[in-house]
């Protein structure tokens, strides 16, 4: 029995199927990359796992976390899991954070909900978490509002909230599309370190193959709501099966080669 098992997950809106019969599993400590273009259903699968799909969605299939069927839980029972056993970092930190609450309080929120922290202890832990996600001057940062922080800092706050309760499964949805390359590199490194430290499983969602390949051991390729390929990185790069995976790998290789040509004297 794997840690997370998604079986025959189908999501539809008004009888229009957007995720079709997707099955995959993630073992404890495994890092899975999910890749696909916009509209391929990546985010919906993540939302289905964490139980945050919009009400208009019709879902069939099952999501099991450590043997517990998450789809069978009601809202209240799911809340006990969310932010605790499993947590998610959203794509756009500016919309994921509450604009009128100091970020320290937002980081403390899951601790107060799940671990009965007092507000004071929660903020104290928030300072530690800010240090853990690589934010400078954490005592000041926890007093800031989201608009006072840069994009990279906001994304680190989102990460701090997600890891506050040491989740067993961390889902990260395109965490760096809103960020610069230099900041992206640091944020990815931080996520990698934290996941390894805590021994959590990771689902890393992105449309960028080079980014995913630095973050995951296995890659699931989505196309028009269907899982078209699921392989480890070496297999995917050396022997991609599906036409879409072949295109992705070829393009990544070509880009890499071209870029290497430009930076030759450095890399050789």
């Amino acid at each position: 029995m794997k840690f997370l098992e998604v079986e025959n997950l189908t999501i539809s809106f008004n009888n229009k199927v957007v995720v079709n019969n997707v099955s995959f599993s993630v073992s404890a400590g495994e890092r899975l990359g999910v890749i696909g273009e916009s509209g391929s259903g990546k985010t919906l699968i993540a939302l289905a796992i964490i139980g945050l799909l919009p009400e208009a969605a019709t879902v069939t299939g099952s999501v099991q976390l450590a043997g517990e069927d998450l789809m069978a839980l009601n809202d209240q029972q799911m809340s006990a899991y969310r932010g605790n056993q499993l947590a998610m970092v959203f794509q756009e930190p500016l919309t994921a954070l509450n604009p009128i609450m100091r970020v320290g309080k937002q980081i403390a929120q899951p601790l107060r909900n799940h671990n009965n922290f007092s507000i004071k202890a929660g903020i104290a832990r928030a300072v530690e978490l800010c240090t853990a996600v690589g934010l400078p001057d954490p005592e000041h940062i926890v007093r800031a509002y989201p608009h006072q922080l840069s994009g990279g800092q906001r994304q680190r706050i989102g990460l701090a909230i997600a890891i506050a309760c040491n989740p067993k499964l961390l889902i990260v949805d395109e965490p760096t599309t809103a960020l610069d390359v230099t900041v992206q590199k640091e944020v990815l490194q931080t996520i990698n370190d934290l996941v390894k430290q805590q021994g959590s499983s990771l689902i890393f969602i992105s449309h960028d193959l080079p980014v995913v390949s630095t973050m995951a051991e296995d890659i699931a390729v989505l196309r028009y709501g269907e899982l078209v390929e699921h392989a480890n990185i070496a297999a995917l790069f050396n022997n991609p099966q599906h036409e879409y995976s072949i295109k992705l790998v070829d393009l990544a290789r070509a880009t890499e080669k071209e870029f290497s040509n430009f930076t030759k004297s450095r890399t050789l």
């Binding site: 273009e37 230099t182 990815l188 080079p210 390949s213 630095t214 290789r253 880009t255 030759k264």
Partner: protein, 260 residues
């Protein structure tokens, strides 16, 4: 033929920030600082830098959508000003980052492309020019009657390029033209864009934080940090042998494929 198009001399643009104390002076953020730049016909210039480094402010200044605090910009020897801009507006066109917000959702593709022709009093036949630019960006003529929401992301961005090309400009300014698109769709844009710029002998100013896009399209590159150009030169030379620490950091931050 390499006529001088743009010449920017000690260009500065300051933004006043909010007062921090009731009686204090308003602090000033210098978004573009003492910048000198020349763009000639057929130049393909990449502008790279982090967010907040002044890339987009520079683009706005070049487009005369914003005024410099000090310094000057000349276009074909004439200083940019408020007076008769119609020639300038025709010659310099922009492609924005996100076609969902840069295309009017209530207009058809045809209306979108006709608009610059109409308001710039384009002399040749508008209909045939519309067909021509759609062909140039590899869109079918049948797309003319459709609305932006009916198109895919790549098609929308190609409509934006067609609109920019419609009035036969000599300079294209592209602000992160592919960063809102999926990786495979980026190819659909970069390939025709690259060929068009070559065949029409356009000057290109491409703003991007994605260095692989810059290497695809640009012959020269300037690296900006905090409003200043910290490094400039031939793209190959700058990327192969970066001098400034910031350029080195940028290059090493590009995600690389694992060696398998």
């Amino acid at each position: 033929m390499s006529d001088l198009l743009f010449e920017a001399k000690s260009l500065c643009r300051d933004f006043k920030l909010n007062r921090t104390a009731i009686s204090g002076a308003r602090p000033v953020r210098r978004a573009v600082a003492d910048l000198n730049l020349k763009i000639k016909t057929g130049d393909r210039l990449g502008v790279v830098g982090e967010s907040g480094s002044g890339k987009t402010t520079l683009a706005k200044l070049l487009l005369n959508l914003d005024k410099p605090t000090s310094g000057s910009i000349n276009f074909k020897g004439q200083q940019l000003s408020n007076s008769d801009m119609s020639i300038f507006r025709r010659e310099v066109q922009i492609i924005f980052q996100d076609p969902r917000s840069s295309l009017d959702p209530r207009r058809t593709v045809e209306q979108i492309i006709l608009e610059p022709l109409e308001c710039l009093n384009f002399q040749q036949d508008h209909q045939s020019q519309t067909n021509k630019v759609l062909q140039q960006v590899e869109l079918e003529a049948s797309i003319r009657s459709r609305y932006p929401h009916e198109l895919s992301g790549g098609q929308r961005q190609r409509v934006a390029i067609a609109r920019a090309l419609a009035a036969q400009p000599s300079v294209l300014i592209a602000d992160e033209p592919v960063s809102a698109l999926d990786v495979l769709v980026r190819e659909e844009i970069l390939q025709p864009l690259s060929e068009l710029i070559e065949s029409l002998n356009l000057a290109l100013v491409l703003i991007s934080h994605d260095l692989s896009v810059i290497t695809r399209l640009c012959k020269t590159v300037v690296v900006m940090q905090q409003g200043r150009i910290v490094e400039a030169g031939n793209t190959q030379g700058v990327f192969a042998n970066p001098q400034h620490q910031f350029t080195k950091d940028l290059i090493s931050a590009v995600p690389r494929l694992p060696t398998l």
